[in-house]
Amino acid sequence: AAEEASRSSPRFRREPKGRVSRQDKYSVLLPTYNERENLPFIVWLLVKSFSESGFNYEIIIIDDGSPDGTRDVAEQLEKIYGSDRILLRPREKKLGLGTAYIHGMKHATGNYIIIMDADLSHHPKFIPEFIRKQKEGNFDIVSGTRYKGNGGVYGWDLKRKIISRVANFITQILLRPGASDLTGSFRLYRKEVLQKLIGKCISKGYVFQMEMIVRARQLNYTIGEVPISFVDRVYGESKLGGNEIVSFLKGLLTLFATT
């Protein structure tokens, strides 16, 4: 970590007193809903990834009142790994992703926020790459992308892949967002950037992630990209039907009209 620090220190514009990345702390926000089976595994992988790479971190679990007892599992994890590493910040009922991030951020002590899915579709092994990428270009946002380099998707059938590609193509043409993967939700933000962005975003679902990047572009934030492999959820079902497609199109047109 010391090496890392000395290399990247001269260009640190937004750090207090220009002091270096050794103090950087990464808060991982994990919004959960019925992730009882996945949560221990994802937390173990996160802890492993961070302790191998030596970055300072905390994991904030935001459980939206899951009926399957995700909260009890999280409490046990808090005991095992210590309450300085695992913070449990549950809410009473399901209130949506945007507010989950706002809620989690209130309790985050890190200066960087990492958001990811808790259903194992995002592997924590990519986090050190995110951090390295961020330091390399001093980016405000680093976004995981399925459409570049070694990135890709496991567990999707052909139909789903084609829909995803077409949706991405239309989006690239309409919005010119300057990032290749807009609907992904594996990202690293500077805390103050995320705070500012979230206040501006109104959409839900797939479109929410897209709006974050588009608004970031508007506000002239810089965006770096890291290829990731996305694994479709192991347990449970991820859905993509007519409804999702239509609401995606609606959101896309709204963004096109308002930006």
Binding site: G152, L158, S229, G242, N243, I245
Partner: protein, 84 residues
Amino acid sequence: MATGTDQVVGLGLVALSLIIFTYYTAWVILLPFIDSQHVIHKYFLPRAYAIAIPLAAGHLLLLFVGIFITYVMLKNQNDTKKTQ
């Protein structure tokens, strides 16, 4: 990631679009400069179709998208009525 069949389908799509692109380019851009008695004209339809076919395809696509969206929205309305 990219399984065998998916890759084949993807390559097929790319190949198809390349073929269409070269054929259409030849048809619309090169052919007007070639003598009208030349045998090559046998391999192409009359030029009016160069406009008509893409136009029809575009309309079909729009129609399909329109039908799909109305279908989904109508179904949605019915669903919400049922639950109320």
